[in-house]
Amino acid sequence: MSKGTTAPAAPGRPSDLQDEEEQARAKLDRATASRLWELTRGSRKALLGLASLEAIMVVSIVLRPWFLADIIDHTIAGTATINVFVFALGGLLATWLVRFGGAGVAHWMAGHIALRVLARLRSRLYAHVHGLSMRYFDSTRAGRIVARVDRDVEALQPALVNAAPEGLGVLLRFTGASVAMALIDPWLLLVLAPLLPVLLITAMLFRKAGQKRWGQVAEAKSRVTAQLCESITGIGVIQQSAAESSNRERYGRLLSDLDDSAIRASYAWGWFGPFTALLSTVGIAALLLVGGIHLAEGRISVGELAQCVFYVFLFLGPLQEIGDLIERLATASAAAQRVFLLLDTRPDITDAANARPLPAVTGTVTLSGVHFAYLVDKPVLRGIDLTIRAGETVAVVGPTGHGKSTLVQLLSRFYDPTAGSVSIDGHDLRGVTQDSLRRQIAVVPQDNVLFSGTIRDNLRLARSGASDAEIDDAVIRLGADEVLLALPMGLETDCGPGGTNLSHGQRQLVCLVRACLADPKVLVLDEATSAVDIHTEGRIRRALKRLVAGRTAVIVAHRLATIRDADRIVVIVDGLIAEQGGHDQLMSAGGRYAALYASSQLAGG
């Protein structure tokens, strides 16, 4: 786990940032830029418009000091007629109109482009994520995936929309100011020139130092947030363990780390503002010195000197902005790398090129020589041969962590076996489309996830055209009515985000009904009723008996009452089938199953 880590908070723990940097470091930058450019397709004309607008605004900015010079020179010379004033002030007003009117239009255009490009990218990412296989979701934290589609896409905005027009604007202002100054007095431009490399180099240095330090601040901040979120979700455990004060101390340490890193960052970064201000002043001072001499020599006028004072800001200002722009681009490009990395992630499981839709099956499931490992050196299944006849109910039992749930994952092709094959009615799962497969095989997984909305909404997910009556009927047929209809709002009860308004047992019932509504040929239940009371489970079991008629059912369960009813019981130990047969047959065999059964029936039943 531990790679070189910089954060003092928890040694030996690589930060998210480092993880991602490592993931992203491989190839990049030029590729990133061209891929970002790719994303703006469809908005390029608008971008061009934005850039031209920027150019027009720059012209107005470069003109502005000229009006000042005009007035000053005329007033000093005593030639300031009303016309001079009208012309200069009118011109000045016009530059402001162009500047702020243009800014309004630019804001509008940039906003539209950004919203459009980002919306498209978000939808594309989301769709892409849903094409990925379970292995990806099992090995990537949900929060991280959410951050890609959420924060990282947001962070792309400067690179996608603002960077090019702003960069152009910066360049034009710099050029405009240089040309204007050169026209007035080339020497003034020459005096300022040495400041350029100094400013550029320091901007780069600051950027480098800043990036690293702000990275540390972001990392410290994310630790603080993670700890806070965990404290809230685990509040029950904290209070139960009377660990409030130790948790607060721990949080306090993370806060202090955050304080330290933020303050350290400002030590390094805080110089930038004063330093650029100093350079500007040096520029103005140099200008006044040389300009003053030229003034005395009569080569320039007072107005022109004043005009150049303003051009110093225009000349050096863009360079400061470049630093800022680069900073934002750096953030954006880090985000872009993560986003592209996600877009480049290919699903392990895809529909084969020649995949056909699975035709209507009878439901014979065959596993032959199935091996499976999540990690190369840790086999979970080590050669499973099993045929489940159409219409048969098979219970899979065995100790925790010996491969029962893994077996289930293979049936719905959430994973492919590392060796051997799984097939339904003789169709190898790898040769059929995933969609068509999952329409005929329904899995009720261990972790019962509901979506926000009512219970009815959740049930309808399995069959979108189902009428209210059909849904009510399914609830009653499965025997879940006693619990679900007893809720204050019945099936109209709001499940809350992730189903948190319902109890664990209630959620399981909803999931079960949902699976039955899908009317699958093969029904797979992975510990689907573990949190339901035994009375309700009994009702469900009886109902399932009717429901599974004509379907193949694979049931992973701990409760032996459920297991007992199966046509066949398969005991999995250490990734192998240890024994299989009917309940009575296995009991008389006196093997693992008999031992399991005896211990659960200590007091007789």
Partner: protein, 600 residues
């Protein structure tokens, strides 16, 4: 960090944001130096313009650069100005740097206090409060709301202060030159501020609409990722992708409205302020031609007013920032002000083996009676099982024992041997929970080392103690499977554990506290029968003086208990040994599925 009395109670009338701002009171020294430092820095800006004006004036009038006798020019006056300007900027830079650092330190201290207080408040609130508000909402307040408040009270208040100084400095310098120069820009800035304030109110409304529709996007995103297994299982991908795109589109529409409003309306106040620039140049030009102003001063005046034109733009975003923050501050203050139903004070719990009794205990949640005058007693060294159907209030009852929740009626009492009974309400809750452990139905582990997760309840426990409780909870294989043993990380970013493994670790954690009272809330549901009976056997032999309440659903667990209670409709509907109940109580037989049903 102290109690930060500045934001304590009794200040309900005060605006929430002001109450949070009053945290600055604890750091008056730092705050004063920041105010003074930044004040000087920002006034130095008009001062620099003033100096440039003077310098230009000297150059124009030929004082700074003089022709020398033998030809050539004496630029020593100009050099003086160079040194003055550079000197002032260096001083100003040092001051700015220092103030920025101090402002950072101050801001971090303030945030530290606020965040710490927030955690403290959240930790102090009882489970009933948390259940009512939901983890998602509390997390949102603790993260997003407190970020918005942070922006306002640290960055925003500084910007506001600086902006005020720039306006004052600019108007001040103009006034120094000529009252006519100052009057019009000052009025224009006032008008612009009024307009911006109005616009901001509308913009805040638009922003909120956009934010609300973005919440829908986030919600959809989060559910789509967390529920991916279900989505895949039912081949719902296309449907969910369409839904997500719809949400994104809805957000885009709202966000566009906000963008359009800003684009159309914001230029107006900016133009109004820029009229001030035109005014200064025009009026200044007239004053110069009348000899009432020197050209150098005019240049300086134009410089400062031009700086102001761009700074005023920030007013709009500041107003928005504070508007956003004030509703967030309200939500945070609500947490600060929430009164924990269970105060953290009381007497020490009794020593030795303990008995706990519930007397006529009633609990109501949202006007529904969940528990109705329950009487039960847990004796030391006995295991009491509690069964009941899904949603019958078992978990609520479990939380009463460690006082994670207080009953609405009746009382929970405790005593040591033959001492008098003590009402739990008088006992200090943290101290009591160290003696009374509850293992929750849903096993929760922190992202920490395995040992760290266990030591929560007993920081001084040795590695050997930990190995011992892991063995008792039949979880030694979890430690064995981690490459770093008990120091291996579990939870998020650590090794993924199965439900059964997590349950056993949670049980081990409770055992490490050597509790006098142990409550298991269906805490062995994910264990297979063999492991469960091994664990229960260990409990009986090693916790021989502990009073155990075990909420369960399996007959085998009930059989292992000394006594079984049947909870139904909020009341104890049956009591006895498993054998007695299963012999006579049909409800019990039905609940535990003891009748081998004839196929219905």
């Amino acid at each position: 960090m102290g109690q930060a009395g500045a934001i304590g109670e009794g200040a309900r009338i005060v605006h929430p944001l002001v109450r949070l701002l009053s945290l600055y009171r604890d750091h008056l020294g730092l705050a004063t130096s920041v105010v003074a430092g930044l004040g000087l820095v920002n006034l130095a800006q008009p001062a620099t313009a003033w100096l440039v004006g003077l310098a230009v004036e000297d150059l124009r009038s030929g004082i700074a650069v003089r022709p020398m006798l033998g030809g050539g020019l004496d630029a020593s006056g100009a050099w003086t100005w160079v040194w003055i300007l550079v000197g002032v900027t260096v001083l100003r830079g040092l001051l700015q740097y220092g103030s920025t650092i101090i402002a950072m330190v101050l801001g971090q201290r303030l945030l530290h206090t606020m965040r710490d207080r927030l955690l403290q408040a959240v930790q102090g609130l009882d489970l009933a409060w948390h259940r009512l508000h939901g983890a998602g909402e509390v997390i949102n307040r603790a993260t997003r709301d407190s970020d918005l408040v942070r922006d306002a009270i640290v960055g925003g208040s500084r910007n506001l202060f600086e902006l005020a100084l720039v306006i004052l400095g600019t108007v001040g310098l103009l006034l120094y030159y000529h009252w006519l120069l100052a009057l019009v820009p000052a009025l224009l800035v006032l008008v612009a501020i009024v307009i911006m304030k109005r616009q901001a109110a509308r913009l805040v409304a638009l922003d909120r609409q956009a934010a609300a529709s973005y919440d829908a996007v986030s919600q959809e995103l989060s559910e789509g990722i967390h529920g991916v297994r279900v989505i895949k299982a039912f081949a719902l991908e296309d449907q969910r992708i369409d839904r997500f795109s719809d949400r994104v589109d809805a957000f885009t529409v709202k966000a566009r409205a906000a963008v359009r409003y800003t684009a159309v309306r914001l230029p107006l106040p900016q133009l109004i302020v820029s009229l001030g620039h035109v005014w200064v140049l025009g009026c200044g030009g007239v004053l110069v031609s009348r000899g009432q102003l020197v050209p150098g001063d005019l240049i300086a005046a134009v410089m400062v007013i031009q700086g102001l034109v761009f700074r005023v733009e920030a007013i709009g975003s500041l107003v928005r920032m504070f508007a956003d923050a004030s509703s967030s501050a309200g939500r945070i203050i609500e947490i600060f002000d929430a009164r924990p139903a269970i105060p953290a004070s009381g007497i020490a719990p009794p020593d030795g083996p303990l008995a706990v009794r519930l007397e006529a205990v009633t609990v109501r949640i949202a006007n529904r009676t969940i528990l109705d005058r329950i009487d039960l007693e847990l004796a030391p060294g006995t295991i009491t099982a509690l069964v009941g159907s899904t949603g019958s209030g078992k978990s609520t009852l479990a939380q009463l024992v460690p006082r994670l929740r207080d009953p609405d009626g009746g009382r929970v009492i405790v005593r040591s041997q033959s001492e008098p009974w003590i009402d739990l309400r008088t006992v200090q809750p943290q101290a009591w929970r160290r003696r009374c452990q509850l293992v929750f139905q849903e096993a929760f582990l922190f992202s920490d080392a395995l040992a760290g997760n266990l030591r929560m309840v007993c920081p001084e426990a040795s590695d050997a103690d930990i190995q011992e409780v892991l063995r008792l909870a039949a979880a030694e294989e979890v430690a064995a499977s981690l490459p770093e043993g008990i120091n291996g990380r579990i939870g998020e970013r650590g090794v993924t554990l199965s439900g059964g493994q997590r349950q056993r670790i949670c049980l081990a954690r409770a055992l490490l506290a050597r509790p006098a009272v142990l409550v298991l809330d269906d805490a062995t549901s994910a264990l297979d029968a063999v492991t469960e009976s091994r664990v229960l056997g260990n409990l009986r032999s090693h916790l021989s003086d502990t009073a155990i309440l075990m909420i369960c659903s399996k007959p085998s667990s009930c059989a292992a208990a000394d006594r079984v209670l049947l909870l139904r409709d909020g009341r104890i509907a049956g009591a006895g040994t498993h054998a007695e109940l299963s012999a006579h109580d049909t409800t019990y037989r039905d609940l535990l599925g003891l009748d081998r049903e004839v196929a219905a």
